[in-house]
């Protein structure tokens, strides 16, 4: 009986840190190594490589959403100047090319417009 109680207590001790970890759901990096932000009902992941901007859209359950019907705009501040990038569906997400090379993690806002016409935006700092 005592052993079982220890077993239960031990499991509880293992489980609690998991609970604590999952409480901060939106921190850290996304599936493609980019930054994650909330945008309306979605979560969006921003990946910038040189001049290319890639945005992946996830739903509330962290499941990737097909980009068909979506469009978007990314406005990123690079070297004190805003760079506007128009995003179009490409592959598993939205993508676009900037006119200047973007840094590793530029701050800015990504706005996506869903198939229903409702716009939502996510802020990256």
């Amino acid at each position: 009986m005592l052993i079982r109680r220890f077993l239960t207590a031990g499991t509880l001790a293992v489980a609690l840190p998991f609970c604590a970890h999952h409480a901060c759901a939106h921190e850290g990096t996304g599936h493609n190594g980019g930054r994650i932000a909330d945008a309306g009902p979605y979560h969006i992941e921003l990946v910038t490589r040189d001049r290319r901007v890639e945005v992946t859209i996830y739903d509330a359950k962290e499941k990737a959403v097909a980009p068909a019907g979506f469009k978007g705009t990314a406005i990123l501040v690079v070297g004190g100047k805003p760079a506007r990038v128009v995003l179009a569906p490409s592959g598993a997400g939205l993508a676009g090319e900037a006119e200047v090379a973007l840094g590793a993690s530029p701050k800015g806002v990504v706005q996506i417009t869903g198939p229903d016409g409702a716009a939502a935006s996510g802020k990256f700092n």
Binding site: L7, T8, A15, H21, G40, A60, I75, G117, S121
Partner: protein
């Protein structure tokens, strides 16, 4: 009877496994806690137009849709200073557009797409790129929209949409709960009556069932169904367009105190009241003590002019006495004092004068005679010289006697400065030792304070005047002799001392050695409310100010130390707090 009764051991194991699985199940539920997915904040009051706000570390932006124009107000985040010369590029549903600066300090963006929007849309998502000088920031702005006239308030989200699917099934329960809470909060008698009626009907149905009568039970159930349907219709009453028109917001928002005690101040009013904030920072500060003091002239740069003899005052050779405020140089003649000659003295002087005149005449004749005889050798040269010296001495004494009767005492300025006090009237008799003028250098004034503690010589101090001005002071010295159970401490006023006068009362705030921790805020940021409590106003959102009760301690002439009540990083109103407190 439970079909599978588990033995004790597997039951415990199952419980443990369930506990282990709990965090993973929670993941799904928790992912959405803490943010509400872009839906803008509900309007704080029904009389305030729907709006949106966004803030970054540098800027604070408020957007208000007005007809087919979007009005934007831009301020500095930390100070609340308006920015009227920025460039605002907005990502609208119709593509990028630039907002134009208006004369009232706002920016206006023509928004024809507001009229053609989907009536089900309750908010608008915009991205605003702000360029003000060297500061560039991109702000994500969610603007709440007024419900479209005639249309339904909120169209349900498309059911097939993957993102909404998870929320839809929870939605109606929440909506029902919210509606019921709203009704109860509004003290709607309908909700209470409905509940009471249901209870009575239930009791009736139970009683009838016990009695074994079927038909009345059916009748009661039909009655209950009718009532429920009726109540549902009643619950939708509030959504009628005609009742909504009464809640159409006015053209201009009004500053108001909200139900939760916060103050809503629209941006135009903030500009009018010139509200400014400061981000409160914690630090260690030297405590100060307040001492009563008064302004005195610098002893080395002031002087008095006194007459040493009693006599009649007369203006100086320039013809006029120096007036109050006249600037004088060292050595300048300010007045003349003519000592009066008494009647007894006068007769004495006349007698002496006659004697001298007589002696002069005798000696004069003797000198003339000796002059004739000395060339012949009848009178020696020595005798002639003696007679001539005697004559000269007598003539000098006669002249001095004349001069004493006429020559006045000259009063000169001992130091340069300004006449601070003048008691000279032509013809007035001045007593010996009486002060005729006081000269003060207005650039060099001191403050003498009475201290009950021994101050450290290096302590810096400030003086606060009755009108709120403050003067920096430098410690000069302290006396050792008690005066009114305190010791006099003298400070020199540093910097400009314009507009000060000698004898004026000031409060001297001198630093002590003890250090205190807290947040230093300008004195003007603390407001005393009607109940006597000290509060500061925290700028919690773009147009929202919250009164925070604080405990304060005096720090120096301009600042107070907030010891408790607010946390570092709070934006505190430092200008216009008194006006903010008047908002009802």
């Amino acid at each position: 009877m439970v079909p599978f009764r588990l033995p004790a051991a597997p039951r415990a194991l199952a419980a443990a496994l369930a506990l282990l699985a709990l965090p993973f199940l929670l993941t799904v539920a928790r992912a959405h806690e803490g943010h509400d997915h872009g839906a803008p904040q509900a309007p704080v009051s029904k009389t305030i137009a729907p709006r949106g706000e966004a803030a970054s570390a540098v800027f604070e932006l408020v957007a208000i849709p007005r007809g087919d124009v979007l009005v934007l107000w831009l301020d500095r985040f930390a100070t609340g200073e308006p920015i009227t010369d920025a460039t605002l590029e907005v990502e609208t549903p119709a593509g990028p557009a630039t907002a134009e600066a208006a004369a009232d300090g706002s920016y206006r963006l023509s928004a024809p797409w507001l009229a053609t929007r989907d009536p089900g849309q309750d908010h608008l998502d915009l991205v605003v790129t702000v360029t003000a000088g060297t500061d560039v920031d991109v702000l994500s702005l969610a603007v709440a929209l007024a419900p479209a006239e005639g249309g339904k308030a909120a169209a349900p989200a498309p059911a097939g949409h993957p993102a909404h699917a998870g929320h839809d099934d929870e939605g109606w329960v929440q909506a029902l709960g919210e509606r019921l809470t709203e009704k109860l909060a509004a003290r709607d008698p309908g909700a209470g009556l409905f509940a009471a009626g249901g209870f009575v009907l239930g009791l009736a149905a139970m009683a009838l069932m016990r009695a074994g009568r079927r038909a009345p039970v059916l009748a009661v159930l039909v009655l209950a169904a009718t009532l429920v349907l009726g109540a549902t219709a009643f619950a939708h009453d509030g959504d009628h367009p005609e009742t909504r028109t009464a809640l159409v917001p006015p053209a201009a928002d009004l500053a108001q105190r909200l139900a939760d005690g916060a103050v809503f101040v629209p941006k135009p009013t903030q500009r009018l009241l010139s509200l400014r904030t400061q981000v409160a920072a914690e630090g260690a500060f030297r405590r100060t003590i307040a001492l009563p003091g008064r302004i005195i002239p610098d002893p080395n740069a002031s002087g008095v002019v006194q007459s040493s003899v009693g006599g009649r005052l007369a203006p100086p050779p320039s013809g006029t006495f120096p007036r109050l405020g006249t600037r004088v140089r060292t050595g300048e003649v300010l007045a003349l004092v003519t000592p009066p000659v008494q009647r007894v003295d006068l007769s004495d002087m006349r007698q002496r004068q006659g004697e001298l005149d007589q002696q002069i005449a005798i000696v004069q004749r003797r000198v003339e005679r000796y002059l004739k005889l000395s060339p012949g050798g009848a009178v020696s040269q020595v005798q002639l010289d003696e007679a001539q010296d005697e004559l000269k001495g007598l003539k000098d004494r006669r002249t001095a006697l004349d001069r004493i009767r006429q020559e006045p005492e000259v009063l000169v300025a001992p130091v340069g400065g300004v006449i601070a006090e003048a008691a000279a009237v032509a013809g007035q008799m001045a007593a010996p030792g009486q002060m005729v003028f006081q000269i003060v250098d207005p650039q060099r004034l001191w403050v003498e304070a009475l201290s009950f503690d021994a101050l450290t010589p290096a302590a810096d101090a400030t003086a606060r005047m009755a009108d709120g001005r403050t003067l920096p002071l430098a410690y000069q010295g302290a006396g050792l002799a008690d005066r009114n159970q305190a010791i006099p401490v003298q400070f020199a006023i540093e910097g400009g001392s314009q507009g000060l006068r000698v004898g004026q009362f000031v409060t001297v705030l001198a630093a002590t050695d003890a250090e205190r921790h807290g947040l230093a805020l300008p004195r003007a940021s603390v407001v005393r409310t009607a109940n006597g409590q000290d509060v500061v106003y925290a700028h919690s959102a773009a147009e929202r100010y919250e009164a925070k009760p604080v405990r304060i301690a005096p720090l120096d002439g301009t600042r107070v130390l907030v010891e408790a009540g607010i946390v570092p990083g709070t934006r505190v109103v430092v200008q216009g707090a008194e006006l903010l407190d008047q908002v009802r």
